[in-house]
């Protein structure tokens, strides 16, 4: 790796951090999803308390050409609330599992947010004018005494302070028996998928009282259950194609033109396993926690517990690239099973031109893999490196006996500091990295 430590020539700088500084983290503040919109101007976060916060990028200022605009709060609202299903004795968390933006079609912005059971379509719109000079109402809304109305006037629109309003436009409920883990908007901008552990449903964005079940892997006898669905995603430009990943490490690609029910996959992607290497942990660590198509649509990336794999859609037999995220954890699996960390679901993301992929790890470390230059780097999201525009120093975990200066040993890693959610701006080198309750924004160093 170069002296700068970045992949290829990119050096990453701290830009902003959002959230409370104190170590005592309220459960509601745990960030559960992060997503840029299609232009990158907006950045949405969801948390365990069911709240959504949207940040908007300030326009680049001529005074500071060396950095791109900062992200400031644009809108915040309560998306979901806790519920208790008395009939099934089920507590329904308000935690936002996923947010997905719709491509922008008019002045307003739309996003889908989901908890375990209900998906909602939110409209975020700006209001910067209001009508004034009504004939029958006072400015505060009270109705005027008609006897005092002696003239007629035309109300006019006058500017007002910008107000950003979020309103729920659709509520897609009661379609999932199990817990919704992902949603994906189709490139046709008319439909979207929602997946729970055993089923995938297809919705029309306009219709809330009906949805089509297109994948059902529930066995007739639940004793025979061997795998669950872990993620689903539509192809970025083929509106008939989607993939879903499983807890057994397989990815199935389905074509909706083939049949109404896509239980039979068109392709199945699975890396063959060496039976000699099989252990108690093999299946658990092969469970795919995230699947993402490249922007080009030619590749897809999967994240399992220890690695990131890139698949060519034309080759089902094995991935074309495999990157080890934290291989040193393989000799810690016993402890990680005992403290449940082995079940942590890490996400992954592509950069705008599909040349670099990123994913999180423990100790607030996150990793980037440059596919072209075959380089990787480990960086840390920490308040200690939070001087404005300070360059992030690469981090290293020492695995052998000798620990070099500035390296951290595996046993010193903080497994409570997990980076599960990261997002990359669709066009620029700006990344959003979520620690437990803070959101870090890093930008490429520009000169």
């Amino acid at each position: 790796m170069g002296a700068g430590g970045g992949t290829s020539d990119v050096q990453w700088c701290f830009s902003q951090v959002k959230g409370a500084i104190d170590d005592d983290v309220a459960e509601a503040d745990i960030i559960s999803t992060v997503e840029f919109n299609h232009s990158g101007e907006l950045l949405a976060t969801g948390d365990k308390g069911g709240r959504v916060v949207i940040f908007q990028q300030e326009p680049e200022s001529k005074n500071q050409p060396q950095c791109r605009g900062e992200y400031n709060v644009y809108s915040t609202f309560q998306s979901h609330e806790p519920e208790f299903d008395y009939l099934k004795s089920l507590e329904i968390e308000e935690k936002i599992n996923k947010i997905r933006w719709l491509p922008q079609k008019n002045a307003a912005q739309f996003l889908l947010s989901t908890n375990d059971k209900t998906i909602k379509l939110w409209k975020i719109s700006e209001r910067d004018k209001r009508p004034e000079g009504y004939n029958l109402k006072e400015e505060d809304g009270r109705y005027r005494d008609l006897n005092t109305v002696t003239t007629l006037r035309v109300p006019v629109f006058r500017p007002m302070d910008l107000m950003v309003e979020a309103s729920p436009r659709r509520v897609f409920a009661n379609a999932h028996t199990y817990h919704v883990n992902s949603i994906s908007v189709n490139s046709d901008c008319e439909t979207y998928l929602s997946a729970d552990d055993l089923r995938i449903n297809l919705w029309n964005l306009e219709i809330t009282d009906r949805s089509f079940n297109i994948v059902d892997i529930k066995p007739t006898n639940m004793e025979e259950l061997t795998e669950v669905i872990t993620a689903v995603e539509f192809h970025p430009n083929q509106c008939n194609t989607f993939v879903y990943s499983s807890s057994k490490g397989t990815i199935r690609l389905c074509d909706m033109r083939a049949s109404a029910l896509c239980d039979k996959h068109a392709k199945q992607f699975e890396e063959p396993e060496d039976p000699n290497n099989r252990s108690f942990f093999s299946e658990i660590i092969s469970s795919i926690s995230d699947v993402k198509f490249s922007h080009s649509g030619r590749y897809m990336m999967t994240r399992d517990y220890l690695s990131v794999k890139i698949w060519d859609l034309n080759m089902e037999s094995r991935p074309v690239e495999t990157y080890q995220v934290h291989e040193y954890l393989r000799s810690k699996l016993c402890s990680l099973y005992e403290n449940d960390c082995i079940f942590d679901k890490f996400e992954c993301c592509w950069n705008g031109n599909d040349s670099v992929v990123m994913t999180g790890s423990y100790n607030n470390f996150f990793r980037m893999f440059d596919r072209g230059y075959r380089q990787d780097v480990t960086l840390e999201a920490s308040r200690e490196n939070s001087k404005p525009r300070s360059v992030l120093k690469p981090r290293k975990v020492s695995t052998g006996g000798k620990r070099k200066k500035d390296e951290i040993s595996v046993d010193s890693l903080d497994f409570n500091k997990k980076i599960l959610h990261t997002a990359w701006h669709p066009l620029d080198n700006i990344i959003a990295v979520a620690t437990t309750n803070n959101l870090y924004i890093f930008q490429e160093k520009l000169n």
């Binding site: 509601a28 709060v73 259950l225 669950v228 057994k248 469970s287 016993c334």
Partner: protein
């Protein structure tokens, strides 16, 4: 995280070069598996099997019976009733829900600190 020394998994009193051969033969995963089975001898052999998955599917399951609940609510002033155990794993039928056990509708919600 356990501070276990890796060397305790291989056979004791092994000279350095033999140990290196041993480390190649026993994969780190398999030695971790041996450690786990030593701590939990009753662990089954199907870790990803239906037990684990069914536990995952049942997340959020609480016990609630409206009849018991209303009876408990009526009697609560007079009698001491069995209350919820501190752990979340309750066995259906062993526990009668009382008004204080039931998940409360959270009080008027505070804004996210990210927006602060």
């Amino acid at each position: 995280m356990s501070g276990d020394n890796e060397e305790t998994q291989t056979t004791e009193n092994t000279p350095m070069d033999e140990k290196q051969v041993q480390d190649k033969v026993i994969s780190p995963e398999k030695s971790e598996e041996a450690k786990l089975k030593a701590r939990y001898p009753n662990l089954g052999n199907k870790p990803g099997g239906s037990d684990l998955l069914r536990k995952r599917l049942q997340k959020g399951q609480k016990y609630f019976d409206s009849g018991d609940y209303n009876m408990a609510k009526a009697k609560i002033k007079n009698k001491q009733l069995p209350t919820a155990a501190p752990e979340k794993t309750e066995i259906t039928g062993d526990h009668i829900p009382t008004p204080q056990d039931l998940p409360q509708r959270k009080p008027s919600l505070v804004a996210s600190k990210l927006a602060g």
